[in-house]
Structures are given as C-alpha cells and as structure tokens.
Subunit: 255 residues, 2 copies
Amino acid sequence: MITKNDIKFIQSLKQTKYRKEHKMFLVEGNKLVGELLSSNFKVEDILVTDLWLEKFPEMAQTLPFYDIISPKQMEQLSSMVTPPGIIATAHTPSYNIKPEDAENEFIVALDGINDPGNLGTIIRTADWFGIKKIICSSDCADAWQPKTIQSTMGSIFRIEIMETYLKEFLSKTQKLQNSKTRIYGALMDGENIFTKKIENKNGVIVIGSESHGIRQDVLPLITAPIHIPRGEGSKTESLNASVAAGIILATIHNS
Amino acid sequence: MITKNDIKFIQSLKQTKYRKEHKMFLVEGNKLVGELLSSNFKVEDILVTDLWLEKFPEMAQTLPFYDIISPKQMEQLSSMVTPPGIIATAHTPSYNIKPEDAENEFIVALDGINDPGNLGTIIRTADWFGIKKIICSSDCADAWQPKTIQSTMGSIFRIEIMETYLKEFLSKTQKLQNSKTRIYGALMDGENIFTKKIENKNGVIVIGSESHGIRQDVLPLITAPIHIPRGEGSKTESLNASVAAGIILATIHNS
C-alpha cells in the first residue's frame, strides 16, 4: 500500500539533491521500466495506474510486483507531458572506475556536458560502440535525472558511470606504466580523426562541453589530440556535442 | 511603428500553417539574428526590447533597422522560456533541388525525421561536412519552426532545403544517365560503413526516421545499403537519429 508520504518521497527523487541523498532514481515508461527489470539494478517500487493495467495486461503479468496509484498521483511523479502510466524507483549503483582500467579498454570522459539530453545520447552512443565505462566531471548534468535516463533509451542500465575529478583521474592515467595508454581529445589543431591511426583499443576519450570544449586544466593532459575536419567551404562553427561524440567514438572504435 | 496587428501577425508565425501561408518565419536571439543578417535572406522586421538595447549596444549599432517592443510583447512572440530580447522575421526562400544535382554532389534525403531538434541538428551536421542540399519528405518536422532553426545554429541560412515526394525524387535519381549516382541508406543488412569504399563524391544519402527507419516504399530505391556496426557485446537497439546521421555523413564524406 502506497501512502501519501511514499508519494512525497518518490516525488522528491525528481530533484538531484534528493536523488543523491537517498541514492535512488526514477524510471518511467514501458520501454525503460522493462529495461530496468531485466537489468541487475535493485528495484524498490513499481507504480502503475488502472488505465495502464487495462492497456498493457501482458506487461502487467511480467511485473514482479506493483502498486496502483491514481492518475493524479502519477502526474505528480511523472516528468512527462503525457505520463505513460508506469513509473519505478531503483537504487543508484556505485561504480569504481580506475585509471588503470584505461590500460585494457576505452573509457569515455565527459568534461562539463551539462545538457541532460546530450548526456543521455552520449551514454547511448558509447553503449552502442561497446564502451563499458564513463567518467563525468562534477559539472556534468546528473546522469540519474529523468531526462537523461530517457535519452539513454536503457543504456544507463548497461554502462558504468562515475563522477570524478577529471584532472586527477587523467593525471594518473598519464603516469600509468603502459605507455600506450592514450588520452584522446578533440582540439582545433588535433590530427584529422579520419586519417589518424589508432594503434591500440584502449585509452581515455575526453569529450568537451557544448559551449567551452575541453577545460583549460585538462587540455595539457590530452596526449592524442584529434580533430573532426569540416567539409570544404563550410562556415559552421561547431557540431552538436552528442554528434561530435558519436563521430569520435565511431571513428576511434572502427579505425 | 509596430502595431497590435503586426504583433498578432508575427505571433502567428509560430504556427506551421501561417509560416507556410505567408512564406515567412521567425529568428530569435543574438547569434541567430546575427547569422540571418549576414545571409542573403530577406529580413522583414527586427524587434528588440529596451533592455536588450541597453545590454547589447554594440550589436544594436550593426542592425540595419529595428523597432522597440515591450517585454510583454516579446514574451508573446518568443518561443523561449527566457526571451533573449531580439527577434526577427524573414522570408522563406524557395529552392529547387533536382535529381540530377546528385550527379555532382551529395544530397541528404530525410525520411520522416519528425523531431524538430533532430532535424535542426542534422541540418547543422550536413552543413559542417559541406553538404549544400537537403530534401525532406512531407512528414518531416517543419524546418522553419523556431526549435529547428535554433538547433541548426545558423546552418539553415547556408543550406538549401526542400520538401518533396521522396519516392518520386529517388526513382528519378535511379534513372539518371550517370550510373555512378548511388542512393545510400542505413539498413540492417547493409555493408559496414567503416569498410565500404565510397567511390564517388556524389549521390543521395537517405536518413530514416527516429522510430521506423527508412519507409517501406523507399527501401527498394536504396542502391547502396550501409550499416553502422555495433561494438562487440553491445545490446543497444539503436542510435539517436541525429547521431546516426552524423556518423553516416562523416564516414561517407571522409572515406
């Protein structure tokens, strides 16, 4: 039985502050709740409306448990214009990604990606290319907010993500014994990403922010500067951050 | 002098119906109005608030003309949560993109891209890679709506874009004398885009919709099926439409 206080508590998870405090987050809609349930995440609540139960009897049968709430309560909890009728709460996992991990695989490092949609899209893209670990500077958007979760299309349940002090992490990566561990980053005067030879399938790929690119104190730590060249005669100033990240991940992954 | 009726008229341009009827559209914010003014587009009105004039005296000096409106009027016209204080109207150009154009350059064909943000981002990406012509199916989002214009970051002023009946356009492209004019499209069983050799720098690149991919009656017209392979062990179902478009345009452009 869901009490008024439960609803209040769950509603509080729409705010970063309370998500961090309680180490919990919200997942909404059939597709994402389905992905959550098939993940290893610990699920706390599953809330549905009567209308949802009528509309999706088959999915309802697959739910391990659920509580029914009113459409009005669902509206309070939902972050969508049209609430899909199913919402769940789950416990935020904590991952420990270490600089040494970059000796064996690619790690994506996000530097100030503050648009939740871009953040989610980058997580989704990294997952597509088989990347398992993402580190974020503390000024990135919160990965566990509803809009980011939505944009990941479920990839958030398959990837490790950790907030960290980028400069320190990358300094340690630079000092690793395996001298072939590169730190890639898009810089104006970097090497053409389409012709650069990527020698090893490991290292850190730093993605800069939408408006400022890679921050000043991280720049000197980039050991493999790259660049996405513009077409001839193009006067565009920049690419969208998640498109640029997609092209970088695709190219490094497949070269 | 701007009348109440003028404001009403300009406000009507927030709706696709009236944009189409009057062949005009809205441009908002310093960056985009600046790009508009340095383009060849015919500008009709430039409206600013007193506060904007105070904040941006230098940009104000570069405006060829302007009218001052009240903050309340600006709110009526703006599509943004925080109106930037400058908005302009301009005439929608009409372009004539022909199948034969694909004999000499790459044309991007958008098939049912209905999210305005994705549409704008794809226009911006195409512009980055030097593509000059985009055709859209009639069920694409309207390219001249505020959200799309915003997402193009000004690329809308540098690229030709035309709504057309895709199937007919592509049928005609297929029948062109130059047999090297390919029609590229992302299909599940397409060739790996990272290893496929792109022989000529021309043809049509079809980008499918967010939810359905390339539509059924267009599929048989694809002569060069391509595919963005997933990383090993990845369980993601799809990429974001504008990220996929970015990877396709980048790869075809640079292979």
